[in-house]
C-alpha cells in the first residue's frame, strides 16, 4: 500500500515524496520474510501455529521429520501483509552436510559462506542425500532472516553447532528462539553461552505450547533489533496484536455477560400439575445447557480454536462440551460454590421442591423481590405474571448457584483460552479457581436487575434482545467480570 500520507507520517522530514517512496518502497511494500529453521522435532510447525493462531497449520507430531516440505503463512494487519513465515523441514544430518560443504572447496580456494552454499545447492547431493537440508537453505536464502528454533531441554551437542555453522553460511541474520524454555534453566544457560561464542547474542525464550503473555511482543522486538529496516512493520504487528488480544478479551467477557443475563432473566411459567412441571423443568434445563454450549462455542470461535479439533476436546470439555453437568449438585460442590438458599432450605426442611428442581427456583419470592426493587415498568411487566400466579401458574427461574457456576466455568475457560498456544495438543490443567468473588461473593447488580426483566432473556419466548437497557447491563456486567478480585 503506497500511501503517501502514511509515509509522510513516518518520515516527517522528507521533502520530495516520490523519491522517498522509491527509496523506501522495497521495505514498505514487501512483507518481511522469515524462515523458521532448526533441528528436526524442535517444534517449528508449532511455532508457526502459535504465531499465526492457526490450529490447523501443517502437521505436528512427536515423530522426527514430520514436516518435509516448505509451507508458508502470512500475517496481515488490516489487509496489508506484514510478515511471511516459512515452515521448513528439520535439519537432520548437519555434521555430514558440513563435512560435505568443506569438501566442496577446491584445494587452495577460499569460498565465503554464501558461495559455498550456492555451490552446494548446484550439486547433485542437494537433490539426493541432502535434499531436505537443501530446501531449508534455499528458503533461508530467499528470506530476510531466520528464526533458529532450539529445544531448550537438549544439551548443546556438536551437531547443533554444526547446524548453526551451516545456517550461518547463508549470510542471513539468525534469531535463536528457545522452545520448551519452561522445562529448565540449566540447559538454557549452556545454550546462551554457546550461542554467544557463535556471535548470536540475542536470544528469545518462547514456549510454543504455553507462550508467555508478552512472548510474541518480545520475539518481534528482538527481530526489530536485528532487522532495523523492518522495524515499522514489526511494530505495527505488535500494536495490532496487542489491540486484538484486548478486543478478544473484551468480546469474551461480553459473551459471558450475555450468557449470564440470559440465564438470570430466564423465567418460564409452569402449571401446578406435577407431570407438566417435570416436563417444563427438563425443558428449561436443556435450554440452559444449550445456551451455555453456545457461549462455549462462541468463545472457542473467538479464540480460533475449533470445536471439532483435538485441541478443543483437550480443553476441560468433553467433546467440546462440559463434562460435568450444570445441574449436578456435585459440580457445584467441586467448584466450591455457595449453594443458593433455595437448595439449602429445601434440603433442610425436606420439603424438597427446590431440591428436586436442583438449581431451579420455584415460587413467588423472586417475583416479590423484583417488585420491591423495580419501578413502575417492572410492575407493568409483572401484571400478567401476577395474573398467571392467581390462575395457579408458577414460574421457573435459575438459582443463583447456577449463575455462579456458569460464571466461574466460563471465566476459567476464557483464561485458559487466553493462555493457550495454538500448538498445544495436550489437555490443559485448570487450577481450582481462586476467584472467591463469584463462588461466594455478592452477585453483581446487573444480574439482580435482569431477574426483573424476562424480556431480556433469549431463553424466553418474547425476547427483546435489542433493548438499549439490556445492552447497558451487559456492558456493565462485562466490566465487572474484568475487575480484579478484591482480596
Amino acid at each position: 500500500m503506497r500511501n503517501p500520507a502514511a509515509i509522510r507520517e513516518q518520515w516527517p522530514d522528507c521533502n520530495w515524496l516520490p523519491d522517498c517512496i522509491r527509496a523506501t518502497g522495497a521495505t514498505m511494500n514487501q512483507p518481511l520474510k522469515l524462515a523458521v529453521v532448526g533441528h528436526t522435532n524442535v517444534g517449528k510447525t508449532s511455532l508457526l501455529r502459535t504465531l499465526t493462531r492457526d490450529v490447523e497449520f501443517g502437521e505436528v507430531s512427536h515423530r522426527p521429520s514430520t514436516t518435509r516440505h516448505v509451507e508458508g503463512a502470512r500475517l496481515s494487519v488490516d489487509g496489508q501483509p506484514l510478515l511471511e513465515l516459512y515452515d521448513t523441514p528439520g535439519l537432520e544430518d548437519a555434521i555430514a552436510l558440513l563435512d560435505y560443504l568443506e569438501r566442496l572447496e577446491q584445494p587452495g580456494e577460499r569460498l565465503d559462506g554464501p558461495a559455498r552454499i550456492a555451490r552446494f545447492l548446484a550439486s547433485s547431493e542437494a537433490r539426493q542425500r541432502f535434499e531436505q537440508e537443501a530446501k531449508v537453505l534455499r528458503q533461508l536464502l530467499a528470506s530476510d532472516a531466520g528464526l533458529y528454533l532450539i529445544d531448550a531441554r537438549e544439551p548443546v551437542l556438536a551437531k547443533y553447532k554444526d547446524e548453526l555453522a551451516v545456517l550461518a553460511d547463508c549470510g542471513k541474520p539468525l534469531l535463536p528462539v528457545l522452545n520448551f524454555s519452561s522445562a529448565g534453566q540449566a540447559q538454557e544457560d549452556a545454550w546462551r553461552s554457546a550461542l554467544a561464542r557463535l556471535g548470536l547474542h540475542a536470544l528469545v525464550a518462547f514456549d510454543t505450547v504455553a507462550p508467555p503473555l508478552d512472548g510474541e511482543r518480545r520475539l518481534y522486538e528482538s527481530l526489530a533489533l536485528l532487522l532495523e529496516k523492518s522495524r515499522p512493520h514489526l511494530q505495527r504487528l505488535i500494536a495490532s496484536h496487542a489491540a486484538q488480544a484486548q478486543a478478544r478479551r473484551h468480546s469474551g467477557r461480553q459473551l459471558i455477560a450475555e450468557l449470564l443475563i440470559d440465564c438470570a432473566a430466564c423465567r418460564q411459567p409452569v402449571s401446578r400439575q406435577p407431570d407438566a412441571e417435570q416436563a417444563a423443568i427438563q425443558a428449561l434445563r436443556e435450554a440452559v445447557r444449550q445456551r451455555e454450549q453456545r457461549c462455549v462455542d462462541a468463545l472457542l470461535r473467538l479464540y480460533a480454536f475449533r470445536p471439532d479439533t483435538a485441541q478443543a476436546s483437550a480443553l476441560p470439555l468433553l467433546d467440546g462440551r462440559w463434562g460435568d453437568d450444570l445441574f449436578n449438585p456435585e459440580t457445584l460442590k467441586q467448584l466450591g460454590i455457595r449453594l443458593g438458599s433455595g437448595v439449602a432450605a429445601g434440603a433442610a426442611t425436606g420439603a424438597g421442591i427446590d431440591l428436586l428442581v436442583g438449581g431451579l427456583s420455584l415460587g413467588a419470592a423472586s417475583v416479590l423481590g423484583a417488585l420491591a426493587g423495580g419501578g413502575l415498568q417492572t410492575a407493568r411487566n409483572y401484571g400478567g405474571r401476577l395474573l398467571g400466579k392467581l390462575k395457579g401458574q408458577r414460574e421457573l427461574s435459575l438459582d443463583d448457584a447456577v449463575l455462579r457456576l456458569l460464571a466461574v466455568r466460563q471465566l476459567q475457560l476464557l483464561a485458559a483460552l487466553e493462555a493457550r498456544g495454538h500448538a498445544a495438543t495436550t489437555a490443559i490443567q485448570l487450577d481450582n479457581p481462586q476467584d472467591k468473588r463469584w463462588r461466594t461473593g455478592k452477585l453483581p447488580a446487573a444480574l439482580h436487575k435482569a431477574r426483573a426483566h424476562p424480556e431480556w432473556s433469549a431463553l424466553n419466548p418474547a425476547a427483546e434482545l435489542a433493548q438499549a437497557e439490556r445492552q447497558a447491563q451487559v456492558t456493565q456486567l462485562a466490566a465487572s467480570l474484568a475487575e480484579p478480585e478484591k482480596s
Binding site: 558440513l98 551437531k159 469474551g252 434482545l465
Partner: protein, 470 residues
Amino acid sequence: MSPRVSDSPSAIPAPSPLEQLWLCEAIRLREAQGQRLDDREANRHAHAAGGDLAQRIQARALWLARRDGLLEALQHYRHGARLALLVLGLLALLSGAGLALAALGDGQRPVNLFWALGSLLGLNWLLLAGWLLSWVVASPGASSLAHAWRWLSLRGAADARASHLAAALPSLLQPRQLNRWGLGLLSHGLWLLTLSAALLMLLALLSTRRYGFVWETTLLGSETFVSLIENLGALPARLGFSQPDSALIRASGDLALTQESARQAWAGWLLGVFVVFGLLPRLLLALLCFGAWRHGLGRLGLDLTLPAYQLLRHDLQPDSERLGIHDLAPALAQPSAVASQVHSSSGALLVAIELDPQRPWPPSLPNGVADGGVLDSREQRQQLLERLSHTPPARLAIACDPRRSPDRGTLALLGELARSAASTRIWLLPAPAGETLDSARLDDWQRALQQLQLNYSASAPWRWLESGHE
C-alpha cells in the same frame, strides 16, 4: 459487491449508508438470537470484496440480506416511509390552512387577538414544551417511542424477517441518540410545514378580506394588555413588523377600529408574533435537529468491539492466511537394514553417542570391555571409525539417550558403527534420576532401530559384552 446490487433482477436500489448499517444490525440481532447463519458463501464474497473489516461486514450483511429477503422488507419500509411522509405532509398542509381559517374566521365578526393567537400557536407551544420536556425526563419517553415503533412495525411487518429489521433500527440509532434527533427533525419539519401553510393562508385571508381586531377582558386591567401586547410585539418590531402604539391598543380594547392604518398595524403585529414565536423556533429547531442528525449519521459506524463482529474478523479479514506448500516433500529413503561387513574381529567395546555432558560416563566396565568414549563431534566420530576399521570389535554396544530425537544423522552413524563391528547392540539409556522418558519418543527410537534391524535393550548389555551370550 456493487455490480451484484445493480444486476439484481428485482432492481432494488442500492441501500444508502444508513440502510447498510441498518441491515448489519438486523443481521447481528438475528445471529444474537442463537442460530448461526449459513454464511460461508457470504463470507467468501465479503472476503473477496476487500476493504477494511467494517466494509467487509457490511458486504456480508448485504449479501445475507439479499439472500434472506431482508432487502425486500427494506424496500417495503422505504415505500411505507415515503407514503407516510406524504400523508403526514398533506395533513400538515391542510391542518395549517385550517388553523388559519379557524383563527381569523369569516370576517363577519371582529377577530379577538388573543383567541386568534391561542388557536394559531397554542397546540404548537404545548407540543414544543412536551418535546423539550422529553430531553429532561430521558428514558421513559424514548422507550415508549420505541414501543410505539415496534408496535407499528409489527402490525405493518409481513413476516419475522421484517420484524428483525424493525427491532434493528432503534437499536442502531439509540446509542448515539440519533433516534431523538431524527424524530425531532420529523416533528419540527412537519410543524414547520403546518405553520408555513398557516402563514400563507393568513396572508391570503388578510390580503383579501377585511378583518377588524379587538382584545377583550373582564378580569384584567387594560394596562396589563397594553404592556403584554407591546412586549409581545417588541421582538417582531425589530424585524420590521408593525407595532400598534399604545393609543391604538387602548382604542382597540373598546371596539374594532375600522380605519385602514389600525387594521394594518394589527395584522402586522399578528403576523410578526406568529412568525417570531411560532414559525422561527420550529425552523431553528428543525435546522438544529437536521445538523445533529447529519453529524451523528456521519459518525455512525459499526461498533467493531461487539462480540458478533469480533467473531467475524477471523472469517472476513483473517490476520493470518496459509500460503500453501511451495517446496514439496522429497521421497523419503527408507533406511535399510545394516549388515556387518567385518570378517575378523576381537574384543568388546562400549561407546555412547550424543550424551548430555552432565551425565556421568562411562559406568564401571567389566573386565575385557573397552571404553570407546562419547561420540559427539565430527572429529570424534572420525577417530573412532578409523580405530574400528583397524581393529574391528567382536561385540559393540552403543549407548543412546532416548531423550534425543532419532534423526537421520544419528541413525546413519549407528549404521556406520554397526557395519564396522561383528555384532552390535543398542543400549537405550534410562532417564536420569528424577526424570522420566517420553514414551512417544522412546517408541520412535524402537521403531527406527527395528527398521535398521539392530538389537536394542533398555538395560546394560554387560553379560553380552563379556561373553557373547545373554
